[in-house]
């Protein structure tokens, strides 16, 4: 059965198909993409694109991440420029949830109020 692909049927690309490989770096750099769903919302990381420069990264990011869902703005940043902590340092955040003095729930007011109320009643 003949192919429906005009490249096969009319260009006959199969007649001289040869393996041509990509060289390293041919797909440019990776840019991380952050999109903003609506005005007032924060920009959120949604993925990455390959591009030769930031301007092209914006063009590709619009096509890749701004095509379907709601989107009003996009940021791109070269992946290599992002600095992050390593997994091994995760323990430095471990005490966060234990700091009751930094949390409203760590302060009990009602028991004091109740104590005063009951004292007043006794008087």
């Amino acid at each position: 059965m003949p192919s429906f692909d005009p490249r096969i049927e009319r260009l006959h690309i199969s007649d001289n198909s040869k393996e041509e490989l990509l060289s390293h770096g041919e797909n440019w750099n990776i840019y991380e993409v952050f999109h903003q769903e609506k005005r007032g919302a924060r920009h959120e990381h949604v993925g990455g694109v390959h591009a030769p420069n930031p301007e092209m990264a914006l063009v590709f990011a619009k096509e890749q991440f701004g095509r379907r869902k709601r989107c009003v703005n996009i940021w791109v940043v070269n992946s290599a420029d992002i600095l992050a902590f390593s997994e091994q340092d995760e323990d430095m955040f471990a005490a966060n949830l234990g700091k009751t003095y930094r949390d409203a729930s760590g302060f009990r007011v009602m028991d004091k109020i109740n104590r005063i109320r009951s004292q007043k009643k006794e008087e």
């Binding site: 059965m1 192919s3 429906f4 692909d5 005009p6 490249r7 096969i8 260009l11 690309i13 199969s14 198909s17 040869k18 393996e19 041509e20 490989l21 990509l22 060289s23 390293h24 770096g25 041919e26 797909n27 440019w28 990776i30 949604v46 993925g47 990455g48 694109v49 390959h50 030769p52 420069n53 092209m56 096509e63 890749q64 095509r67 379907r68 869902k69 992050a84 390593s86 997994e87």
Partner: protein, 332 residues
């Protein structure tokens, strides 16, 4: 949307078994506890070399499947019946290519470059879902692909989206969202033929008969011969067994085909009320492996087209790379 359940494995198991020995047992325990607790693994985290290898293989082949999967449908864009179907098909094909990009991006976080993934596809070292080695001969084929193959892929992707690797889960979440319309437009186009004239019904039945064996093979070999171990399940790389996913697919979609008064070419196909699972004729797995190794009707065409696209796009990539060095003429 096109991730099949079956992921082709390169025969270098010995090598990975050796690498495995070098994994630090303490780190391995912490890693497994994390997964057990339902936490996600992120790119910079320590991970066993076998986990990394299997994930690259899985995500990369999923990406290739999206890109190659766009080819049989892409040739039908100019032939789609009606303006709305043409627009929907263009949108769907663009989505599939976008999904390929999302997945390549997730695979890259594991340390394999985009260029080497594409090169492995072009040389045939890396595989893609076997179902795309078959031609879409009629418009009815496109509706069967859009309905049933998309449905099968969604079952696989929803399972994988609950896996342990963060970037893959996030990519799949977006993919599943985008695909909700793919399945629906496929089902609608399928149902229009089923509710159409006698010749439309006959065309649809013919397409179903041809596509049923590859669809049954879509989730991969039965559990009893599938090489993939409990380790991948434990690490939440593989989230459901091939047979379980196949059964889930049959459970949801066979009734949907039957209610449109179409038949499926398997006399044994029926739900076994006592076990709650489906009985069917076992697909021809020898033929499945032969097609993977290159004997399918479209293997050569798919790779020829893919290679042609890469080589004809090269001048654009190179021109963009040198954009800064280009001389420009004054405007006036």
């Amino acid at each position: 949307m096109y991730g099949g359940g079956y992921i082709f494995d390169e025969p270098d198991k010995k090598l990975s078994a050796q690498e495995q020995l070098h994994d630090d047992p303490e780190k391995l325990t912490r890693f497994e506890e994390k997964i057990q607790a339902g936490e996600k693994i992120e790119p910079g985290d320590w991970m066993p070399s076998e986990y990394r290898r299997q994930l690259i293989r899985l995500i990369e082949q999923h990406a290739h499947s999206e890109v190659i999967g766009a080819l049989p449908e892409g040739t039908w864009i100019t032939r789609a019946p009606g303006f709305k179907r043409k627009m929907a098909l263009i949108a769907k094909v663009q989505d599939e290519i976008g999904h390929g990009q999302l997945l390549y991006n997730a695979a890259e976080t594991l340390g394999k470059s985009r260029e080497s993934m594409i090169n492995d596809l072009l040389t045939g070292k890396s595989k893609y879902s076997n179902v795309f080695n078959y031609p879409a001969e009629t418009w009815a084929d496109v509706t069967v692909i859009g309905f049933l193959i998309d449905a099968a892929a969604i079952i696989n992707q929803l399972a994988n989206a609950r896996g342990s690797y963060g970037p893959y889960c996030r990519a799949l979440e977006r993919i599943c969202y985008e695909e909700s319309f793919h399945l629906k437009q496929g089902q609608e186009a399928f149902a229009s033929l089923a509710a159409g004239t006698h010749s439309q019904q006959a065309m649809l039945q013919d397409a179903l008969n041809r596509w049923w064996p590859p669809i049954m093979q879509f989730f991969g070999p039965p559990d009893k011969i599938s090489a993939h171990s409990g380790k991948l399940m434990q690490w939440k790389v593989k989230m459901a067994s091939n047979d379980d996913m196949r059964n889930q697919f049959l459970d949801t979609y066979v009734p949907k085909v039957w209610e449109l008064a179409m038949t499926l070419p398997d006399p044994l196909l029926k739900k076994n009320e006592s076990s709650g699972r489906w009985d069917y004729t076992e697909p021809d797995w020898d033929q499945f492996f032969r097609v993977i190794q290159g004997e399918g009707p479209c293997n050569k065409e798919r790779l020829d087209v893919r290679r042609w696209v890469e080589s004809h796009g090269r001048w654009v990539r190179l021109a963009l790379m040198k954009a800064g060095q280009r001389k420009s003429m004054p405007m006036a």
